[in-house]
Amino acid sequence: MPTKPAGTLYRGREGMWSWVGHRITGVVIFFFLLVHVLDTSLVRVSPEVYTSVIGAYKNPLMAIGETGLVAAILFHAFNGLRVIAIDFWKKGAKYQRQMLWAVLIIWVVVFGAFAIRHLSLALGGH
């Protein structure tokens, strides 16, 4: 009398969570990009309007938002390369777990470097 599905190779494991993460970050980046093209298009309204809207973005809350956005992009990019390796590399499926750990380590290093540089530029006086 099983009350819940037996464990599978996939469900609830690394493969599933990396897919969930890839999906969520993909949607977040998409909606950012819609707004981003709209704000960039203000260069066709007037120099003053563009510079003042971009200027309004330059505050600590937005700095944290930009840092979060880049965190999402870095995960989506590195994990996307992992998905490509799984599909095209002969041993990709066999090493998908190890590759996920590699993705996470590279993510920590690159995101750490980005966050330190961006937050010290954006939050520090200049």
């Binding site: 960039t40 066709r44 007037s46 003053e48 954006a122 200049h126």
Partner: protein, 157 residues
């Protein structure tokens, strides 16, 4: 003992009377799958380059204003970079969101409505973004006057 049946998907291998779809879709889904991977590789370069130049170099985000954009788009290299990034990111992202809508929107009418909205938004924003890159004017003039906030290198009209 028995041989394994051929899979019932993949129209080309299946006798006409057993085909589930009209076949009019061709191999669109396979091409979309391939496009996600090819565009992904190129987007890594384009987006990392964009973020590095706009956020990491020099003053970082403090440097971004109208003059910054004018400086970049004076160079066809960056115009082309941004154009490629705009088109690839939107085709990739729109196809990705299409997949997600297909996965979660179970009613046919809902699915259609959401996808129509998605495609409409994509078309509008990609056309807008393309026009912005190619019609950009670093020294815009209004009523015979240089607009306020124009970069200091602009000559008097």
């Amino acid at each position: 003992m028995s041989t394994i049946q051929a899979p019932r998907s993949g129209n080309s291998r299946i006798a006409l009377q057993y085909r589930r779809t009209s076949g009019s879709k061709g191999n669109f889904e396979m091409l979309a799958w391939l496009f996600m991977r090819l565009s992904g590789v190129v987007l890594v370069v384009l987006i990392f380059g964009h973020l590095f130049v706009n956020l990491m170099v020099g003053q970082g985000i403090h440097a971004i204003d109208f003059g910054f954009v004018a400086g970049k788009w004076a160079d066809p290299f960056w115009q082309f970079w941004d154009l490629a990034m705009l088109w690839l990111a939107f085709l990739h992202g729109t196809n990705g969101v299409r997949t997600i809508i297909n996965d979660y929107a179970e009613k046919t009418a809902t699915r259609r409505a959401l996808k129509t909205l998605l495609y409409a938004a994509t078309v509008v924003v990609v056309i807008l973004g393309t026009l912005v890159i190619f019609t950009f004017d670093p020294c815009p003039v209004l009523n015979g006057q240089l607009m306020d906030g124009s970069p200091s290198f602009c000559p008097a009209p």
